[in-house]
């Protein structure tokens, strides 16, 4: 027996065939998670596959440490991204990894296309694909409630993931809602499921794993567990995540002139205090919850009281809305919404329709600027004004994008394709379309390394290599381009290991290479720190190879860099074109030498 479940469930929606088989060599070599999911993506998706066609696959995987240690709570998904056209990779917490673990599944592969809207249930060894019928086009929030009643299983074991109308209408940045409040947010995983006509997947298992059979010495494991638990709970390492949550970043970034405001025109927002983690905690926070195995509990959930009538003060209902730094930045300061209630209403709107909050936030920011500059006008918007600071405008626009009509290629249809499609039609708006490979950045205008990090990251995410954090450490310092690039690349390689286990990245400072090696050792998986670092490099090579095979071209991103990144304020001041160029040149060298790519 191994601590990594080696079973793979392969579901072909076209043929309705379900296979369950074991691949121990794959899991042993790549330690699970990202390592396994990226290899399976390569095996199952041909390079020229249409991301919305049956050849694309959606591959979920858990890692070797999931459920065994605190804060090892994530599941990875890989797919070909409809937004960027290359590597799609995303992570979510909630209960999914626990449900997969207790179903004995290391990975789930979903291929083909169902004929009609369907949902999948996986209860231990039983897999069923059923017609979704009236569940189709349901809001993700409503669907969550229906699924709980539809598939009742023992307490605390079920995980349900689902998509909203945006994904069903093939908006390229549809997300997947996991349980409540967690997401496979970025790069359009929901859209791929939408194209496959899979509205939801519910999974539950009740396997027990005997620790005595699994590990050389259970007592050593119990001791390691205790040490990690103590660091999580009794020290300050994780404090910032449970007190204010990630929203605590709003004020420090604003102070640094690094809080994207008014579509990246500004780095400071006059109402920052009103959308800060401090203000949310005081005025709106309703409760705090945790992903499975996480004693930190960073998920902050606000209670939004909403009046639906004007006649009586009793015409009111309240809903739970999760908040984090990223949605607050992108749906708040970027759009100049300076009041917590407005921001929560817009988060709720993206949540219902199942649309990625970061991506849609930046697209709304572009639309507002284009509208203000007259690049788009009322005839483009069907007389819907789109103005900074106007909540109702944005609420309508999200709805119009999510409910877009595939037969009318209007502004909203284009907005559902992403910024690249918008500026192809409205080229005067090109210079302020802030995205990298069609994927907008997260809300950290910290400096050059955040920009570079998004450009070079495998999934064009701030979490690939944490450029935003490196920016904050290098304010006032000069770093050679080679050194900076090497630093970011090595960070990304190490994260490939964390993403194969799969550690929540908030615990990255806790899970050092030596602790990871120790944890794996406790489970009888012997890997030295050096071996782990090498494996991280190998995984990076495969990620890059996959990107290039799917058609990624660094030069194309370089050619399309929006001028706004050289105009916007950042924590390092205004960025020079030359410094970005030098960093990218250094990265191209890195691609040739360290990653052995011919570019």
């Amino acid at each position: 027996m191994s601590s990594i479940p080696q079973d793979i469930l392969e579901i072909n929606l076209t043929t309705q065939e379900v296979q369950r088989y074991s691949r121990p060599e794959l899991f042993e070599k790549w330690i699970g998670g990202l390592g396994v999911a990226i290899n399976l993506l390569n095996e199952h998706v041909p390079p020229n596959a249409d991301s919305l066609g049956p050849e694309n696959a959606v591959i979920f995987a858990i890692g070797s440490l999931n459920t065994f240690f605190p804060i090892i709570s994530k599941t990875v998904v890989t797919f070909k991204s409809p937004l960027t056209g290359d590597l799609g990779e995303s992570y979510a917490g909630g209960r999914l990894s626990l449900a997969m673990r207790f179903s004995g599944l290391g990975a789930i592969i979903i291929k083909g296309t169902a004929e009609k809207s369907s949902y999948i249930t996986i209860v231990d060894d039983q897999v069923e694909i059923k017609r979704a019928g009236p569940l189709a086009y349901m809001y993700t929030t409503t669907l969550g409630r229906v699924l709980r009643e539809l598939i009742p299983v023992g307490p605390g074991r079920r995980s349900s993931i689902r998509i909203g109308p945006a994904s069903e209408n093939l908006v390229k940045y549809g997300n997947v809602v996991v349980d409540s409040f967690r997401h496979f947010g970025r790069l359009g995983c929901g859209t791929v499921l939408g194209a496959k006509k899979i509205k939801a997947i519910v999974i539950s298992g009740e396997k027990d794993l005997s620790l005595e059979e699994l590990m050389p010495d259970r007592r050593v494991y119990l001791k390691t567990y205790q040490t990690i638990w103590d660091s999580c709970v009794k020290t300050d390492v994780m404090k910032k995540y449970h007190v204010l949550g990630t929203a605590q970043n709003i004020l420090p970034l604003n102070e640094l002139n690094a809080l994207p405001t008014r579509n990246f025109m500004k780095g400071r927002f006059e109402h920052a205090i009103d959308i800060s983690g401090e203000k949310f905690a005081e005025a709106y926070l309703g409760r705090r919850v945790a992903c499975n195995t996480c004693p930190v509990g960073c998920i902050h959930v606000a209670i939004l009281r909403e009046r639906y009538g004007v006649d009586s003060p009793a015409d009111i209902h309240s809903i739970a809305v999760p908040y984090d730094h990223e949605p607050i930045g992108m749906l708040g300061s970027t759009l100049e919404l300076g009041n917590g209630i407005q921001v929560l209403k817009l988060i709720e709107q993206s949540e219902k329709f199942g649309i990625d909050a970061i991506t849609v936030g930046v697209i709304l920011g572009w639309l507002a600027e284009a509208y203000e500059k007259g690049i788009i006008n009322d005839s483009d918007t069907n007389a819907q004004p789109i103005r900074f600071g106007h909540l109702d405008d944005f609420i309508s626009v999200i709805k119009n994008i999510a409910n877009r009509d595939p037969n009318i290629k209007d502004l909203y249809w284009l907005a559902g394709e992403g910024l690249n499609a918008l500026v192809e039609r409205y080229s005067d708006g090109k210079h302020f379309a802030v995205c990298f490979n069609n994927n907008p950045p997260a809300a950290y205008s910290t400096g050059p390394y955040n920009v570079i990090g998004h450009i070079i990251g495998g999934r064009h995410s701030h979490l690939d290599n944490a450029g935003y954090s490196y920016d904050q450490k290098t304010i006032g310092k000069t770093v050679e381009p080679d050194e900076a690039i090497s630093k970011l690349c090595k960070e990304e390689e190490w994260r490939n290991i964390l993403n194969s286990l799969i550690v929540c990245l908030f615990a990255r400072n806790l899970y050092t290479p030596s602790l990871v090696s120790e944890c794996l050792g406790n489970l009888g998986i012997l890997k030295t720190e050096r071996e782990l670092l090498n494996l991280g490099l190998e995984i990076q090579k495969i990620r890059l190879k996959t990107k290039f095979q799917f058609g990624y071209q660094l030069q194309r991103i370089r050619d399309r860099l929006p001028r706004r990144i050289y105009e916007m304020p950042t924590g390092h001041g205004i960025l020079s074109e030359n410094s970005i160029k030098k960093l990218l040149d250094a990265y191209e060298d890195m691609l040739r030498t360290r990653y052995e790519l011919k570019i």
């Binding site: 605390g156 794993l209 620790l211 509990g297 739970a320």
Partner: protein
């Protein structure tokens, strides 16, 4: 002394649904990575939008689950502190009608493990209280006479 105490879900409002208690009970008492085999469960009522419930034995001083058991020596009340102890060598769920489960008015507080063919129930060991990060669970001297 710990053994004179019983487990109480004292501050449910603090629960963040992290599963630390669930996994700790299984890890330490059952030598297993498991949700099902744990004597304590966390359940969401109405999903994460709703509230949490902790399902665990209440540690009765006069436990109704004990006298109904037809097998001599399978289950007994603890001598001090409330709650019960199941003798796993004697308890055999195939040789009874799982009377203990039906007698307990708290659904899920005591349950049958299909593989072990035993009743699984809290033994008041306090492990879970030590892993709860927010102090939901405490051990205390039974004050109420149930």
């Amino acid at each position: 002394m710990i053994m004179a105490n019983r487990l109480r879900v004292a501050y449910l409002e603090r629960c963040i649904g992290c599963y630390q208690c669930v996994l700790a009970c299984a890890r330490v008492n059952e030598k297993s990575l498991s949700v099902d085999r744990s004597s304590i469960k966390v359940k969401t009522i109405g999903g994460y939008e709703g509230s949490f419930a902790i399902i665990v034995c209440r540690g009765c001083l006069e436990p109704p689950c004990v006298p109904v058991c037809p097998i001599e020596g399978a289950i007994r009340a603890r001598s001090q502190g409330g709650g019960i102890l199941v003798n796993r060598k004697i308890c055999d769920s195939t040789k009874c009608h799982q009377e203990c489960v039906t007698a307990c008015p708290i659904p899920g507080a005591i349950h049958i493990d299909q593989e072990l063919k035993n009743a699984i129930v809290c033994r008041q060991c306090s492990t879970c209280t030590k892993f709860c990060p927010t102090g939901v669970l405490i051990m205390e001297e039974p004050k109420l006479g149930f």
